[in-house]
Every structure is written in structure tokens, then in C-alpha cells.
């Protein structure tokens, strides 16, 4: 198990392995500290942070769907200040990378939060969630309009002193176009996919099951869409990709790595199997052993083109 290397480098940040947690599915890390050794992870990506604490949406917020789930948490979080004061000291105690997911409802808020987080000791990279409603432009979402995306990324890039990962929304006609916009605006990496917008109807009450009506679909159901988008983006940009969407096993993670992801994030799987991340790391070791591959980087983007 020790001959080969799982180390990957994402935009200058070295990770002991490509496996990280997906934002919003691992709390602030401490929720799962009992269940696995956080030191084993390539990185911990925390729940999305905003300038002010956010209460989130009314309940019901989640519902299971075939091989997936819809969530409309509404980005509930304790706010960047409490996060830095109350959660970072704990996270700094681990030998892993800490990546802070964040969002805003205006370009100004994005910039402000990015500034605060990237100035925080122990924060190794930022992940910008652009799948949230844009207050300035009404109903539109930062991540679905190329012009707006370019603006917010380049504004954040100016203040961000650590690697900046832009997390792309899959709810677009061309994910590769959005990835190129992010790259051109200065993103150091992209992560994809965020959830796909969906809805479930309670046929008895004739109401949407979720109080928020619509929610984001995650889990194994979306994996084929996510793998396809990673492959498309891999062919469109030079910056590294972090892939996610329905990764439950090492085999799932390998699909993403082979399709071009340099890192993989595990989301919904944590809920079902709290040790999913470490099981995946163990499985990657076994696969490299079995296939006689010395360096996981030899696998990344190795999908045959014929």
C-alpha cells in the first residue's frame, strides 16, 4: 500500500490524496470527527459561509428520490465570523487541507467574505459557490450567466490570497463555456457539479414536498451527468478540476479521475456511510496496487479518446 503515491497538486496546493468532502455534506468537519480520522483526508471542504449567519429555508428541507435526494437547506450557516472564531481552531488541529466554501448575494459580499477567509490562518483554499440567487440581478443565479460569473470571479480573484476554486452549476446549456469564463476570470481550479435543480410533488396535498418548492438533486442518480460534465470541462480548460456528484465508492471516484478530475469530493455518500471518504481512499490504494500504477496522476484524464 505504500509503494505508490496518491498525492495531487491542485493549483499549487498539495493534497495527500485527491479525496475531499463536498461542501454542505460534512458540516464544519467536527460533525464527522468521531467517525473517521480527518487527518486521512486530502481536504475538508466546509459548509458554505456567508458574511452574516443565515437561517436557511423552512422545513421540509430534504426528501429522498430514486438513488438520490433533493435538498433545499437554503445555505444555513453560522456566518464567517463565528466560523473563524469557533470552528477554525478545531480544523487547524488536523494535518489536512481546509477549503472554505462561501457565497454572497452580491459581488460585494463575495469579495468581502473571500477577503476575510483568505486572510485566515489555516484556510488553504476557497471554493466559491455561484449557484445561489443574485440579489442584484433579481432571479438570475451567479452561476448561470457567463457575464455575471466572469465579473464575480474576477472581483473575488483580486482579494483572494489562496487558490480560488469556482464551483460550477450544472444547470446550464454549456458547462465548458462556464468553466472557460471562470478560467479567464482568474479561477485557479473549478469544481463540479453542484446539485441539479429538481422538484418532488406530494400528490395527496398537491404541494411541493419541499417548503422551498425546488431543491438540488444529489447522489448516485446524478453521477452520469457529473462524469460527462467533468470530461467536457477537462477538454475545455487547463486549470485543474475537482469532480463530484454521486461518488459513493472508489470505483465512482476512479470514473471521475479517469475522466479528468484531479480531485474528487464526496457528498451525499457521507450521510449513508460516514466513512465513505476513507473507504474510497483505501479503495484507490487497492486499485493502484492491482493495476500496477505508481502515481495516481498517471490515471488522471487518462480516458481513451477512441
Amino acid at each position: 500500500m505504500s509503494k505508490h503515491s496518491l498525492t495531487v497538486n491542485i493549483a499549487g496546493l498539495e493534497l495527500k490524496n485527491p479525496v475531499m468532502t463536498a461542501s454542505g455534506t460534512f458540516g464544519y468537519g467536527e460533525e464527522y470527527a468521531d467517525f473517521l480520522d480527518l487527518n486521512r483526508l486530502g481536504a475538508v471542504v466546509v459548509k458554505g459561509l456567508s458574511r452574516q449567519p443565515k437561517e436557511g429555508n423552512p422545513v421540509p428541507r430534504i426528501v429522498e428520490t430514486p438513488a438520490g435526494m433533493l435538498n433545499a437547506i437554503g445555505l444555513q450557516n453560522i456566518g464567517v465570523k463565528r466560523f473563524i472564531a469557533e470552528k477554525m481552531p478545531f480544523l487547524r488541529g488536523f494535518d489536512t487541507r481546509v477549503i472554505c466554501n462561501f457565497f454572497g448575494d452580491s459581488v460585494g459580499e463575495y469579495v468581502e467574505v473571500a477577503g476575510m477567509l483568505s486572510a485566515t490562518d489555516g484556510v488553504h483554499a476557497l471554493e466559491m459557490n455561484v449557484s445561489c440567487p443574485n440579489k442584484q440581478a433579481g432571479w438570475c443565479v451567479f452561476g448561470t450567466d457567463p457575464k455575471v460569473l466572469g465579473e464575480v470571479v474576477s472581483s473575488v480573484r483580486k482579494v483572494c490570497t489562496v487558490p480560488l476554486i469556482v464551483k460550477l452549476s450544472p444547470n446550464v446549456t454549456s458547462i465548458s463555456q462556464m468553466a472557460r469564463v471562470a478560467e479567464d476570470a482568474g479561477a485557479d481550479a473549478v469544481s463540479l457539479i453542484n446539485t441539479i435543480t429538481g422538484m418532488a410533488v406530494d400528490i395527496k396535498t398537491r404541494r411541493p414536498v419541499l417548503a422551498n418548492r425546488i431543491g438540488g438533486l444529489s447522489g448516485p442518480a446524478i453521477k452520469p451527468v457529473a462524469v460527462r460534465m467533468v470530461w467536457e470541462v477537462f477538454n475545455a480548460v487547463k486549470i485543474p478540476i475537482i469532480g463530484m456528484g454521486g461518488i459513493f465508492t472508489a470505483e465512482d471516484a476512479l470514473e471521475f479521475l479517469i475522466a479528468g478530475a484531479r480531485g474528487v469530493a464526496v457528498g451525499t455518500a457521507n450521510f449513508v456511510n460516514p466513512s465513505a471518504t476513507v473507504d474510497i481512499i483505501d479503495g484507490l490504494h487497492r486499485f493502484l496496487d492491482a493495476e500496477n500504477i505508481n502515481d495516481i496522476n498517471d490515471l488522471i484524464g487518462s480516458l481513451h479518446r477512441s
Partner: protein
Amino acid sequence: MSRHFAASVVEHHDVNAGFRLLTLSPDTPALPPEPGQFYMLQANTTFDPLLKRPFSFFSAADNTISFLYRIRGKGTRALAALDTGAKLSVIGPLGNAYPLPEGDYIAVAGGIGIASLYSLLGAVPGRALLFWGARNRNELLMPERIEPLVKTVVMTTDDGSVGEQALVSVPVKRFLADHAHLPVYACGSTPMMKAVADVCAEAGARCFVSLETYMACGVGACLGCVVKIRTQEHPQGTFRSVCKDGPVFDASAVIWEGAGE
């Protein structure tokens, strides 16, 4: 000792129609649960159903944990099909526990809510004045195991097949007129618990409720299972996780949004 373990079915049988009692033996040493805590269980290894389901433990012995459950949808159907010897994946014990009463107390169970209260009845035996409501006789589960643990029991059913034909909160309200100094512990459907919380508030009795919401992770990570709770900092209420900050809450702090449904 990890709170995530594989377990084997050592016993599994019908109680009444649609209700089963499942006894598991953890394959590795597991933590002992406290009354009111719960576990996330999953019978299948495929992706449908995808999520584990939360169940209060009914009883726990040296190396076994039992669950009393109602067959409801596809998760519980998959559970119900498990034979002795089958393996399943478990997370727990999770959540907080009932604060143990010091003397006599009032326990209010609605339907399958008895599953959660049973461990409290066993932990503080002979002190409970149990008010036990159900839709019908079939849902009053295992009286032979419950009655020895309590001081008195009052039953109600929706159809009048056993006891008074009323919501269980009706006799509780009558009883509280003279016994508002006793703490109340309630577990059942959300409307039932709200009704009990209301009569307790009126009577000035302390009331603890064990809430039920839809859960994904069970450990406070997904924020899917929240309920609005009044705190000093947030007198208008703020979201708390039922899985981590609960499932037991002081009823006076609960904001019963949409509880009428």
C-alpha cells in the same frame, strides 16, 4: 468504539399487524444508548432506498439493541424483510436523551411513540403515569411488557376500541389539573405532541417532547432535519438539528411550524 458499525439480526418478529420488533447484535463493540437516543438503520446495500432511516432504540441489553417499528414506506419494508443472520449498517447511538425524572412523571405515548418512551419507562421503572394513545387496539403494542414498568396507565384510541375515544391529550389535560408539578415526557406524531405541549403550557407543567423530522445524516451535518427552537439569543426562534440538538426538546422552546399537518 465507533458509532458506525455493522450488525447482525438476532431476532425479528411481528408484534401486531404492520409492526415488528428487530433485535440486532453489533459485530463490533458498540456504545450503550441512553433513553431517547436513536440509530440510523439501513437494510439494503443498493441505492434505492438511498438514505438510512432513524429509529429510537426500544431496548438494549449487553450485546443487543432492539427496535420496535411500524412498516411505512420502502425503507421500513426493506427492514421488515430481513431474516435472522442478515447484516445491516448502523449509525448510533445518536442525539440527546430524556433528562431522567427524579420522581414520578407523566409519560405520553402516541402510537409508535411508545418505542422511544419504553427505554425511559425501563430506566425509571414504577414511577411513570402513562397516557397511551393510538388509532386502535392494534397500535397499542406489547402492553404485557409496558404495564409492569409503569405506576398507572390510561389508554385512548381514535376508534374507541380500547379506553376513552379521544386524543391522548384530553385525559392528560384533565390529569394535569391536579398534577402540574410532574414533568411530562411525550413522543408521538407531531400534532399529538403539539397538543400535549399546549395542555402542559396551559397547566404550567414542564414538558419534554421527542420530535420526528425527515433525516439524511443523523449527525448534524446536512441541516435537513431542523426545527425552530426559541433560545435566549433568538427569542423568535432559530433552527436546531433534531438529530443532534434533539430529538428531545423542552416543549416550551419549540415553535410548531406546520405542525397541524
